[in-house]
Structure formats: C-alpha cells, structure tokens
Subunit: 785 residues, 2 copies
Amino acid sequence: MTALLLTSLLALTLKATAQLEGRGFPDCQNGPLKNNTVCDFTADPLTRATALIAAFTIEEKINNTGSTAPGVPRLGLPAYTWWQEALHGVAQSPGVNFSDSGDFRYATSFPQPILMGAAFDDDLIKDVATVISTEARAFNNDARSGLDYWTPNINPFKDSRWGRGQETPGEDPYHLSSYVKSLIAGLQGDGKYKKVVATCKHFVAYDLETWNGNFRYQFDPHVGSQELVEYYMPPFQACARDANVGAFMCSYNSLNGIPTCADPYLLQTILREHWNWTSEEQWVTSDCDSIQNVYLPHEYTSTREEAVAVSLKAGTDVNCGTYYQEFLPGALSLGLVTEKDIDMALIRQYSSLVRLGYFDGTAVEYRSLSWKDVSTPYAQQLALKAAVEGITLLKNDGILPLAITKDTKIAVIGDWANATEQMLGNYDGIPPYLHSPLWAAQQTGANVTYSGNPGGQGDPTTNNWLHIWTAVDEADVILFAGGIDNGVEAEGMDRVSIAWTGAQLDVIGQLASRGKPVIVAQMGTNGVDSTPLLNNQNISALLWGGYPGQDGGVALLDIIQGKSAPAGRLPTTQYPASYISKVPMTDMHLRPNSTTGFPGRTYMWYNEKPVFEFGYGLHYTNFSATISPTDTTSFSIADLTKDCTEHYMDRCPFADMKIAVTNTGNVTSDYVTLGFLAGEHGPAPCPNKRLVNYQRLHNITAGASQTTSLNLTLASLARVDDMGNTVLYPGSYALLIDTQPLAMFNFTLTGDEVVLDHWPQPPAPRTQDSDYYVGGYGSEYEMPL
Amino acid sequence: MTALLLTSLLALTLKATAQLEGRGFPDCQNGPLKNNTVCDFTADPLTRATALIAAFTIEEKINNTGSTAPGVPRLGLPAYTWWQEALHGVAQSPGVNFSDSGDFRYATSFPQPILMGAAFDDDLIKDVATVISTEARAFNNDARSGLDYWTPNINPFKDSRWGRGQETPGEDPYHLSSYVKSLIAGLQGDGKYKKVVATCKHFVAYDLETWNGNFRYQFDPHVGSQELVEYYMPPFQACARDANVGAFMCSYNSLNGIPTCADPYLLQTILREHWNWTSEEQWVTSDCDSIQNVYLPHEYTSTREEAVAVSLKAGTDVNCGTYYQEFLPGALSLGLVTEKDIDMALIRQYSSLVRLGYFDGTAVEYRSLSWKDVSTPYAQQLALKAAVEGITLLKNDGILPLAITKDTKIAVIGDWANATEQMLGNYDGIPPYLHSPLWAAQQTGANVTYSGNPGGQGDPTTNNWLHIWTAVDEADVILFAGGIDNGVEAEGMDRVSIAWTGAQLDVIGQLASRGKPVIVAQMGTNGVDSTPLLNNQNISALLWGGYPGQDGGVALLDIIQGKSAPAGRLPTTQYPASYISKVPMTDMHLRPNSTTGFPGRTYMWYNEKPVFEFGYGLHYTNFSATISPTDTTSFSIADLTKDCTEHYMDRCPFADMKIAVTNTGNVTSDYVTLGFLAGEHGPAPCPNKRLVNYQRLHNITAGASQTTSLNLTLASLARVDDMGNTVLYPGSYALLIDTQPLAMFNFTLTGDEVVLDHWPQPPAPRTQDSDYYVGGYGSEYEMPL
C-alpha cells in the first residue's frame, strides 16, 4: 500500500459521497450481482454476504469500512449510509432525508425517552417503536433513509448533570433493560426480515459530556467489576443477550485505561462470547469519530495506523468517520491487519443488510409501506398517549384536576409556555405539528393570556418581566411552564447547576404572592431541585413534563383538566441542589463513602434525603394493593436452582407474584405497580432497595380492582460480587409494592450461595477501581511527530 | 404606596417603552422645560439637574430609575436608554440602532481588547477610542444611540478559562490601568462637553461565568485586602481616581459575602470617598439584572423591597433591569428608602447628561458629526493597524516573512480560514466588511486552495477531512488558522479545557508530516497550550491572532508576508493544559501555595514553567537595549517622599529612565519596551517580577536606534501590605527591560518604609480571605414566601 493507493482511495471515497444522492436497492434481477450468491434468496445471510465481499477488490473493501460507504458501482452495489437516527421518531441525521414539501416532509415525533420511561409501560414502548420502524421503512422505500438506526441510547442516567440523560429512560438498570427489550422488539420486528436494525449505544460507561476539563473524547472512567456488572452493563446485556439487537456502538470514552472501541475484552470477550452475540448479522460501529479518538486525544496508540488496526481487530466493524478508509491501507502494508480482518467486518455489515432484505426486492413485506403509513391518526394518538402516560404529578393541593370553561381566565407564563421545537429535545425529526401548552390552553376555549418570559437557565434579565405581570393581572389561575431545555442540557454540554435559576424562582415566587392558584410544569429532565416550589404553600401544583414531543402541550392540558389522570413516575432521583458539590461527575462509584462524604448515586445507594425519590408520582385518586399470599416464606437456593435449565441461570423463574390493586378514590386512573426488593443478602453494603419489576395497569375505575403479575426471576434476587459474578445469596428479602409501600412480602433464602453467572475477568494489568478519579484533567498533549 | 400606584407605574413604564422610538433631545428653546434651570446653559450641571428632578413627581422619578427610562413626556423630556455598548466599536445593544440599509448600516469594528492589549501602545488605544466616540456621536445625532457606553470591561484576565477574557486587554493590572486611561481619554474627550460617557465594569473581582456549579450571578469570591488592592482594584482606581470616568458598573458577584451592587464599602467608602469620585456628574449602574440578583440567587435580603433599598442606598444609581421601577414604591412606603435617596440617583444621571450637552442643542461641538464621519478611510486604516500591532509571533524557523508571488501555492485550512463574524468576538457591531485570512490570501494574487475543516473546539468529526488533504495536495505552503472562538469562550461560558482539541492537533500533525512548511495562526484568546506545535519541528511558524476585527485576515497576511513586522506581545500567560487541574476557577488567590500544590496565578506569581510567558513575542529582527546610567544606585525613602505634594503619594515621580533601543537586524520593526521590576522588598513572598511601564517604539530601521522614557513613579516601586496599604519599602530593586532582559538596572531603597496610601478597612464582620473557596456550589434555595 503506497501513498498512491491512499490517494486513489480518497478520490474514490470523495466521488462516492457525491453518488449517495442516487442511493436505492441493489438490483438482483438484472444488475451485475444477479449471478452472485448474494442474490440467491435461498442462501443464508452469512453465505450471501461472504460471496458478495469476495467480489470486492481490496480497495473496494477499504472504501466501504466507513459510515458513509460508497458501495461498489462496478457491481451495482449502491452507496449506503449506516448512520440514521430515530431516538423518538425518524430523526434528521446523515442518512435521513426529509422532503422540503409534500410527502415525507415530517414523521411522528414522540416524547424523549426520559418521559416515555416515566410511563413505566413496556407495551407502550413496543407500540411506539413499531410506529417508528414502520415510518422508517416508508422513508426507506422512498430512498429517503437507510435501514440502520443508531438508537437507543441506553446508558443509565445516574447524574442529573449529564447533557444526554434526556435520551435515556432513566437511572435504573432493570427499568432500562425491560424498556429496551420492548423497544428493540418494536424496531426490529419479528418477521423473516428485520424491519430495521437497532443499535445499542454507547458501550459502555459513557455518561459524561464535558465536566471540569474532562471531555467525553478523552475521559477514562475507572469502574470496578462489581458496579460495572450491576449498574453499567445490564441494559447492554439485555440488548445483546436477550433482545438480539442488530448492532452496538462503542463509546468515546475509555474504560479502565482502554478506549472501548479498541478493547477486545469488551467487544469480543464480553459482548460476542459471554453474551453469545455471535451471529454474523450483527456488527459494532464506532461513535463518530471514536477511532480517531483512539489516537487523539486518548493517545492509546502512537500512530494512526495502529489506532485503526487495534480497533478493527478488537471488533469495531464500522467506522463512523474516515479513519478506516484513510489508514487501513497503511495498516495493511505494515502488517498490522490482514485482509481477512477487513472481510470479517464487511461480512458482518452486509449479512445484516441481507437480513434486512436489502437485496430481496419486493419479497420483503415492508416494501409496501409508504407515505400513507407515516403520521397516521393512530400514530398521532400514540404520541399524545405517550406524553400523557409519562407526565408526573409531584404536588397537588387539590387544584388539580382543574375544571376549565370558557369563563376560566388562565395566564400561561414561562419560556416553555409557547414551546415548539423545545418540546422535542435532541435527535429530533420534523413533526407534523407542534402543540405548545399555550396552544393547548387556547383550544380549551378559556380566556388565555400569555407571557414567554423569563428566559431559560442562565438568563437573569428582568427587562421584559412587566409583560408577565400584565398577563396575569386578569387571570384566575396561572400556569407556569419552565425549567430547563437543550440550551443547558445537550450533547457535548453537561449542566453545571441542578437548581432552578434565580430569575425563574423569583418570577414564580412573585406569581405565587398574588393570591391566585399557581400550577408549575417543570420541563426538561427532572433533575432540577424543586424544594422551593414544594415548600411554597402558595404554589398549588407541580407537574414534571419532560420533553413531551409533538403534542406535548395537549398532553399537559389533558392532565391538568383531568381528561386523563396522571400516573407517571419519576425515572430518576431528584437531588437537592447541593448534591453536585459532593459528587464529581468523574466519580463513577455508586456506593456512598463515609470517609470522603460521597453520598452515593441513584435511589439504590444515595444515603441522604432526595427532593423526590425515583418512582415518585401522585394521582388524582388513591390506591391500595395486596400481594397474593404464597404458601411459603422460606426458599432453598438449592431447590430454586436445581431445575434451572437455562444457559443463563438468572433467567430461571422465582415466582409469579400476583398483585391486586384497588382504586379507593373517585377518579379513573392508571397505576404503575412498582416492585422493589430490599433486605439483607449478599455482599455488604446492601442497596436501599432495587427495582425488580413493574407493570402499568390501565383505567382502573373508582372502586374497582385489577390484578397484575410481577414475574420475578432468579435475576430479581441475585446480587453481584466484587469479581462481577452474579450470585444467589442466602438472607432476608422483602418485596415492596410502590415507593411508600402499599404492600410487602418478606421471605428468606436458605442454603449455600450459587453463582448464576461467572463474569469473565479482564486480562491484567488493567486499571481497576484504584482510586477515586476526581477533578480536572488537563492532559499535556505530546504530538507524535 | 399602594398596589394601585404600582400598577399605574408599570403602565407608565410600558407606555414609555413604546415611546422610545421617538427619542431625541429635549427642546430647551421651545419645550415645556425652557424655563426650568436645566435649560440655563450658564448654570453648572448639578444645579441644572437638581432643578430638573425637582420638577418630577415621585412616580416620574421612580419610572426613570431603570436603564430603559421613559423620560417625562409631560415635561418634554424624552425617553432615554442608558445601555449602549462599544467594546471595540459602536456595537449592537439595546440603545444602538443600526440601519438596515443606507447610512448608519455599519460602524468601524476594531480588534477585541485582548489583541489591542497585545500592541502595548497607549497612543493607539486613544486613537481607537477617539474614532469610536466620534462614530458614537454620529449615531447619536441621527437618534440611533444614546451617549452612555458600558465599556470598558477592565477586570484583569487572570484565568485562561474565563469566557469574557477576550473583552479585556490582559492579565496585568499596570497594563490595564495604563490602557484604560488612554481609552477613557479617547472616549470622553477633553472638551467642555463630554464626548460620550465611558463605564468601567465590572466592579469588582468579576472573572467567572460558570464553573463547576458556580454562576456569576451567585458567586461569592473571597479576596483579602492585599490581593484585592494589588491586583483586582488597580484598573478601577485608574478609571475613577486618575481618569475621571463618567460611570461605573457594579458586578453580578458578591465580594466577601456582600453583593457588590449592595455594598456601601465598595461604592461609597472606596469608590466615591477614597478615590474622590464624587462629582455629581458620575453614576453607578448595576449589571443586568444584578439588583434582582441581590435578592435571588444571592439571597442577601429577604424581600425584594430590601434588595432595591440596600442597593440604592449603597450607591447604585441606575438599575439595568426593572427592579427599581417595580419595588421602589414598596420600599418607599416601608420607609426603607426616602425620596431624597431617589433624587440623588437621578441627579447624578441627569447631571451626567447635562455634561454631555444633552440639553444644549447645537452649542455642543459634536452635534455636527454625521454619517460621513463613520468608517472613514482613516478609521479603516486604524482598524487594520490595531490588528497588525497586536498580532504576536511565537515561533519562526525562518519561514517568515514569506515572499508570496502569483506562483506561490498556498493552502488555507482550518475553521478560522474563512472567518467572518468570528473575527469580531463578542459585543460586536456591524462592520463595513469582513476580510478573512482566505480573502486576504486571495488578494495577494497567489494560487490559493481552501478547506474550512476541522471544526472548532469540541467537534471530533473527521468526516470532511478528505477535503483538507485535497486542498493541500497541490500547495507549496500551508496556513492553518484555528484555535478557539465564541463557541467555547463567551459571556456565560467559561472554557473547560485549555488544550487544543484532539481533532485540530491531529489535522495539524498530519499536515506537518507532508514535507511542506506549515504556518499556524492560533486565533481567539491565547490561553491554548501550544506545546505540541512548539515541539513539532515540522511546524515552521506559530502566530497568535486573537480576534482581529474587520480587517483581521489582511493583518495576518501583512505580517506573514512581511509588509508589516510583528511586534505584539502576549498580554496573558500561556499555561500548560494541565494547569487548570490544579487551579479551581473559584480560587481567587494569586500567590502559590506549596501545601496545596496551587501553583499561583499570572506571570507575577506562577511558580512553574509557562508555555509562553506574559510579554513574549518574537520579531523579524533583533534588538539590543541600554538603560542610561543614573548617578546613583541607592535612594533614600525619606528623600523620595519629602517633596511629594500629590494627594495620592503614589503618583509622585521616582525616575524617568531613558532606554535606548537598537535594531541590530535587517528588518524595520516596531519594538515594545517592557519595563519589569524585580527584587526583594516588602512583604514576603515577593512576586517574580511586575510590569511597571511600557512604551511602543515605531519603525526602528535596521541598524538604527530610538530612545524612549519609562517614567517610573513611587507606585512603580511600592508594594501592598496585608491590610491593603500601599507602602514604599527599603530593599533591593532591579529594573529589567524585556522578558529575557536586554538591559538591567539594580538599585536599593534605604530608610524606613512609608505608607503611600492608607487603604480604608472594611467594616467587620466580613468574610475575609478565610479559606480556600473551592469546588462546586449548589445552594439549596429557600424561596421567601
């Protein structure tokens, strides 16, 4: 491989980029590939993809290792963009092309995952994902997108400051695991052909954008095996092992000294071997441009050729970026990689496309989907329902539900009052409409006044506040919609405060002093300390509204008016504003540390009083619950495990707990049955409690009961030892229903502990949980010459 | 004062806001005020303003306490906006109205102060300020601006992370003091009428936007009297005591527990009494909206009425915002303020307007200035000159100056290559043109190729890098223009890294490996660790270009080609990237601390090796210097002080040092004569050295000499004790010419120490230099009900 080849490759790639406009499907009927086995619909995907790649020259192979792949014009293989996004609806991204007008000018825009997570309704998530994949296929059939979507972001949201926490369903690993299985089922479908390929990201321990000199591109979190397995890994295990997701994305950060995209322990030992994610239809992409980051700023290798070689050999198949295309020729000529290594990556990619029916023309059932399947009335209703189900009631002095008539005078105030794109959060598409709280209030027929100020986080200006007082002068009731948004929580930007701004608190406080009921809707993620609102008795109600999507305002007003009853639950802990002064973002520990004053992270470990706890949420009615009595309250570990034939023993059943829930109040309402497990068992310290199952019950009418099952498995009972092994321990256990328990079941496990899962140990030497990694990082770069 | 009055005041204010469109001058010939003493041109400003305010009702008085003042329509007193900006040219701001087309559609846009500071040329600064005030008067005559400009930002730039450091001339308090005196002279003029009123901000100890949970709106820096007086105060002392600036702005932050806008010690004891800033033509404005911040988030008072009362009584005359207008009625009715307090504030404001000739019609000499005086050829040349004088050469292997002909093939690369608004920095106006480095390179007639990537700080994407390699393939020489910009350093946003991004380093490194000369222009402020560029021998030259204004590209190319020789000097220390991990932004100390490992701040105290030191700058030639011998090398303190008749003894002369500078090389060049003082005298520890004077010499031809005077005063020799007193101490002294001294004069002071300035002590109890204030701050707000 000489510089000449490099130049010609670059030229090819440049040319190919221009050809992406003409993308479409390969023609297996009449195209140059018609006699290649890839066009033999009866062969298996691996065989077909292998035959295809065998027809590539080495230059063509290398050309197609990036996320913007030129295809092989000579073979009639079209250019392909691997990078599509669909976090909460088909989204604007390199591979998605919305039309400026006419068909395909929009797609359904659901709430951000953080709000859909608050619904605690896996059926809802599958329904949403099914709509998204239907719309994605319709876009694909119009040559407006590929079939690979880089969603979901399933890193647990453990620190309120994280700018991308909004992209996740919350902080709890069981919740995320359960959610993501439903999501993947909806996205990938269950037909012969995959509907679209989902991509679980960012593998692993990625939850920092930029904090005190630390950047995601160079951050090297230190995590021990115990907390890695019990907290950071479960959503990814669910993706790979249990939901058979089509793709993974390795992350920007290192983990314990090794960039994740260059780490064979993560990508081979754990992901492919331990989780049996070995189908050739599955592939790993780098984040954009995390292969380059292996070289700089991680400085994990001393040359760019080594960076691509170590990443490819570790198992990163697709390079979002151009480093593979640029530096694989050099790596090949230096003997750092073989052509076979490149073949492996390409075969994985094209096997996946085969499985998507990319080569199979109209034999694919999804090829008939079209613009009429986008933003259907059903999809629009589902987007509204998802927002309604997630919105969470945090305080209510009885003002809600609020009867609104045409004689009601409502002032709608705050920088979210007339929200439009704000309601979508990030990774957004173009929705068919954006119904703000103001718009929705106006639709009620009430007399509505409005003022958009004060501005969001960081804007202290009172200059336009006079308009606020004018807007509320005539009102009977005040709705304040504010909080945070993408201006302070965003990709690349972690928050530096978790308090309300002084300006917003001041306005709310002044509004509350006017003798009129004040309802506050706190928007954005819910890690905004609302203690002052909770303590102010003149503030009648507080709702958390997240990023509610295209119909967000309607959802809020539906809840406020009681057209729907609130039943969302907070998917993250709300900490007091002072919390962040005790917790460096770079400290990955969960357990509290009495020596350093570190108070712990998440509801499982935090040892102080939260403002609102994980799972908190009020209703317009009251509920009681009972757990059907079981015959026994003591279980032998030997008995529980002796009949377990699952390869992964944690999947074996423990008990199917029947929970009867009764609506003891006057308002029909959903109810989220949260099952927590507490007790003393396994390695000290024990967590406060942990979520082991949840089920959302729908429309329980006043006085009525519904029964649900919480299926507990051995995983529900197990804990993780300091080697990362998942173990069933003897000890005391308690199943608690709801955050302030409505019912409880105490039981014990007896006998010897049994290891359910032996965690593969990392090769020494690695940096492991050595010291607290705290404070600013300012590497002195030495540029390799 | 009842709610009824409050409401009517609000209504008045709202109405007045609408009337601002019709602003202009009061009519003393025929208007309602013609018989009021304010229209008696022979009376003094105080008498005239007092008479005017006496004609106001209490409602009219309160209405006019905000930055958007409705005037008094009844009296023919027009609405007036106090808030204009002109940091480096008449700027877009609430009181400035650029035309969409035709006349007054632009104004001259000079470089940001950080680059003008690097020129170390006070005559240049006065010339620039004179152009700005001329253009400001032209705008005012067309009813497009007021006469009060909220410039300069003169807080010392001690931390490279500070997002507003670009607005200042640098880190050294002597430099800032000298610069600001020239600036104010140019802005305010020396006629009977003030040309415009300048405003020194932000008083005091303001240099943090948002860092690790600390916001400027609630940050409470702790500073002891010694470092307060020797570092944070001098520019403000120069403004108030020495340059008689028309206005001050108190800051967002507290100082030692008290919000600056509410602190009578700062605003009365220090500013007005100790510095004798007592003319009624001078006033203090709050920052926007720092009166509100006194209440929230500082929580310094428990009611809003107390917040306005304590601020007004402390001496804050103008409220940028609306808190005075809203809450003075309540404060008045509660007896927290008197009408006389309000009168005092208004008399100060309107005295100032009298002094500006606001009431005096065409008697004012500046009333003839018009559009033809804006963006004159002279002003355009001066903007270019200011950029040329500031640009600083940091590395040169001989490639510069570069002969450029039409046969030269230059590739211009980087996200600053085609910079437009980027070159202006913040607080910018609309310039007549924006000449980028790319544009300027094209004007040379050379063969220019171009690629704008990689993106700025934080963008890791290599996706478009292929264009870079194409752009440089044919080039003979590569000019890379990158670094940082307002995307990462801005108002409200401190930087979290002082390293080059991995992406930019990677691209520069790859460019440097191609065997072609690479010239790097690092743009934005200069606190970006360029160690890798310094160490890479394939990088031929490094320039620092700051924010060079409307002709920035031309200035760069003029230096590169040798049309002008570089003579700028770094106005701040360039620290290694790891520096910030040792220095919390919240730590206001300057002196190093061996116990904590704190390495100290600024060239005066930093005890490690900087990447480039303060004052560093190369030339295209060499210089030697000699200090004219003085008769004596020992001075008696008693002799030095006995004839001093100045009220402020630090102003008395010590010596007029004659420095002869010889150009020993081959290229005509400016030379900045920097005079530093070192030695052992006064309280330990002693600083490494400190700047005591500077003079820029112009166009010293090859082989020629020029002589300049460095006028040293007793202030040059004095140090500050721990009570804040300025003292002349016996001991050893050394005057050093230049950073690597070209000449040195050693001398001693003998006898007893003499206090030159007794610093007024703050009333106890205050928080004083108690502990290091470190780490995140997350106040638990308690909202007053």
